[in-house]
Symmetry: C2
Subunit: 484 residues, 2 copies
């Protein structure tokens, strides 16, 4: 009842400042946004607010601050950790950024685009391409993930090897802070030493320190040519040596993805149309992509052929093929991109988005899998993904024949804690690219170094003293909004 | 007296934990560290503490916290804004990081070095070169500037165009926080989304949020070949067009420095051995450096000759020459690096390290100079430096014949405020690369957007609640230490 009263006050304030269409209280229209896209979390919300400008977002946050109403920012709602899903109390409002969907500018000379929070990644890439530029970050959800969410989760993807995560690609952030003031970092000054970098603090903060409304983003030349290769090899160590061989000869390698034989087999079983890129059996596989921004110099295909020919001779690969056509290149990528779905189809499993220091990853992949299989007999463990970033998706599959519900309830949490302990012991991160959200918040409290945890809590309390910005996400034990 | 009492308590605590040689109270040994290297600021300090390990730094900060003693971190003491100089009260201790001078590791495969705060930049570069690597940041003070200071001031220099400032080159930070706990970010995980990025917050914080004790730094391949060119041209706009022409054809341009004719004339007058690179007169000049990491492909000399030949044809330069030898290349750089000293020798002037959005800089250079000369008759204004970073050093020279002391006292502050107002109106920064320290603190309070200023103060209060870390620097009106 108290919550309902608060919400009424919040909505009254909003109605004075926002057009009616921006305030949604019809439960049927709110319902689609109460669940994360994996369906793991389901929350409640009495209102969905859809501002269309930064000024309107500021009005929403001011109203939230005045009434101490929690707001849960939401973009494409494609997050992996429940970060955009409200809690079950129903006292929060969902703050959708989807109507902030303008690309404010693309400066092809300066290689900077300014895009609002609700711009879908694919749309930005399409628009940049018209100017012979690209924004060098891509991921599976590019058709729905929005700039605001990508900034707020410091998204990664398959080009981090060359271009880094969002943190390195964001030249400036515009955001509404917890008191409703607007921080404008869009001037995108390459050099600005006027104190603490708010832009960097907002990147990856999952909407807990401010609501990102726009970002200035670095562009690079469009791809004029690319080549995709597939190699079979003995071990993750050899794969790392192959990557270093390639990178010591060129800076054109954009992707280097590793998979074990069983991931390939899972995909081939899952996708009837898929074909194995190599004829023989190999314990491990890598997909390599190289690009060139123009048609001068050595073509990427010739580059990869030369690098892989040397690698075969040096024992860094046992077989390799460079895709002969764009269609074959796409087919290689389809295999890589289908692993998660294919492995899920094999039965219950836990997935872990983890990183360790890059040089330690090959050994970690082998040792952690062995440790998991010893600790949980009958389970099968393996990692695949972004070897060169020190980041793999580490899956532990339940023994055949178990009852899925029971295994998820009784064993999966223990498996996850075990994997997280291994990662932490290796100096790694329990969240490499997906963030913390609500899914990993308690594990973060358990495992984050105390100094870092205290600093996080202090920063949260300093910049959101009322606890209205996405409460319950990211920051373990953050104070909730004071509703007395 | 109270201050003396506090200092005694601080020193007593230190003596229990640190070796005697780490605690200096002899005024003669402290004296050299009480003045910044430009001689603008002079402070007092009752003690100089020289820990040799991170654990010892932590002990110093714990003792400072227990006795509320302000500590002023100091590295090479080559800062430009008085950030490492204590105030005149004498109640602070200087915390020198110079004894933390180990390079802990250089991993040439992973391209990461871990260097302690007291490592001198030149030493890191020398050691990296032995492994055919380099740390791609350089500046005039490289023989004395230390890693801790470079991190804490987010240093720039002449290679930012290609490699960015320290912010982009630091893979992780180790620092002692205000409660004496150690934050260890040295695992240098390329992907780590466990909440707010403390490393990024400590970069450029000028020791006000934590004492940086070591950093993990990205390396790149050593330079196998370089070329340096000089071009004469009509205007900053044309210079920007020339830069874009170059960068649209190659990513090998590392430096692109602009100077007006009068800067060149000042250097030629100041350095008798210097010779003008080009025969004729040109209103503006640029120095361009390109490098290559290996001897494959087009040599940098050929590359610059090709780019400049096209540029001459397209009207983007009126004359140009590529240095024919390393000696000539060095001579070109000597001209560029001598501008500040040469212009200082011409008489009293104010120097401003400022930035505006990159595309706006050519126009700003012209308009701001004209505005200054109109507002302060007889003065001469001009900018030179890092055009491609949107960062120039903007100098306003006093009219001939003025009394220097009087001009510095009566007019210079007004000139500086005028320039800062122009920069702020253009959406720029009053500190592009030198930081705020004590020199620009009050101007920051006057000109920083209120939302950003409030956020800075809140972060400072959250992470250094006792105000013991470099008080009075960077953060305007930060609460001082409570000494009751």
């Amino acid at each position: 009842m108290l919550a309902a009263h608060v919400m009424t006050g919040f909505l009254d304030l909003l109605r004075a400042e926002l057009p009616d269409r921006a305030i949604v209280t019809d439960p049927d229209r709110i319902a689609p946004w109460l669940t994360d896209w994996r369906g793991r979390y389901r929350g409640r919300a009495a209102a969905l607010v859809e501002p269309a400008t930064t000024a309107e977002v500021a009005a929403v946050v001011r109203a939230a601050a005045a009434t101490r109403t929690p707001v849960v920012p939401q973009g494409g709602n494609t997050g992996m950790v429940g970060g955009a899903t409200p809690d079950e109390e129903g006292g929060a409002a969902i703050l959708s950024l989807r109507r902030l969907h303008r690309i404010r500018s693309i400066d092809a000379d300066a290689n900077v685009a300014v895009a609002e929070a609700g711009v879908v990644l694919q749309m930005l890439n399409d628009r940049a391409l018209e100017r012979e530029r690209r924004f060098p970050l891509t991921l599976g959800a590019r058709g729905s993930a929005t700039i605001g969410g990508l900034v707020s989760t410091n998204a990664g993807g398959t080009q981090v090897l060359r271009f880094g995560t969002m943190r390195g690609l964001v030249a400036g952030v515009e955001a509404v802070l917890a008191d409703g003031s607007v921080h404008d970092g869009l001037a995108a000054l390459p050099k600005d030493n006027r104190g603490y970098n708010l832009d960097q603090l907002l990147i990856g903060a999952e909407g807990t320190l401010g609501i990102v409304t726009a970002a200035a983003l670095r562009l690079v030349p469009a791809v004029a040519a690319r080549a995709v290769a597939w190699a079979g090899l003995r071990s993750p160590e050899v794969a790392m040596a192959l990557l270093r061989h390639c990178r010591s000869h060129t800076d054109r390698i954009e992707s280097f993805e590793i998979m074990p034989a069983e991931s390939l087999r899972a995909v081939l079983a899952h996708l009837p149309a898929a074909r194995a890129p190599l004829a023989g059996e190999h314990p491990w596989h890598v997909l390599i992509e190289a690009t060139a921004p123009d048609l001068d110099g050595e073509a990427p295909t010739a580059l990869l052929e030369r690098l892989l020919s040397d690698a075969l001779e040096a024992g860094l690969a046992d077989d390799a093929v460079v895709a002969a056509s764009e269609a074959q290149a796409d087919a290689f990528w389809t295999i890589r991109d289908s692993i998660s779905a294919a492995e899920r189809a094999q039965g219950p499993a836990t997935q872990h988005d983890i990183s360790v220091p890059v040089p330690a990853m090959p050994r970690f992949m082998i040792d952690a899998a062995a440790a998991c299989e010893a600790r949980f007999p009958g389970c099968h463990a393996s990692g695949f993904g972004h070897l060169g970033d020190g980041n793999v998706h580490f899956h532990v599959r339940a023994p055949a024949g178990v009852d899925p519900d029971r295994w998820y309830r009784d064993t999966a949490p223990e498996v996850t804690r075990f994997v997280h302990d291994l990662v932490t012991a290796a100096g790694g991160s329990i969240s490499a690219e997906h963030g913390i959200g609500q899914m990993k918040r308690d594990e973060l409290a358990r495992l984050l170094p105390p100094a870092r945890l205290r600093a996080m809590r202090a920063i949260k309390a300093a910049l959101d003293p009322l606890g209205i910005l996405n409460p319950g996400k990211l920051v373990p034990l953050a104070p909730g909004p004071d509703r007395q």
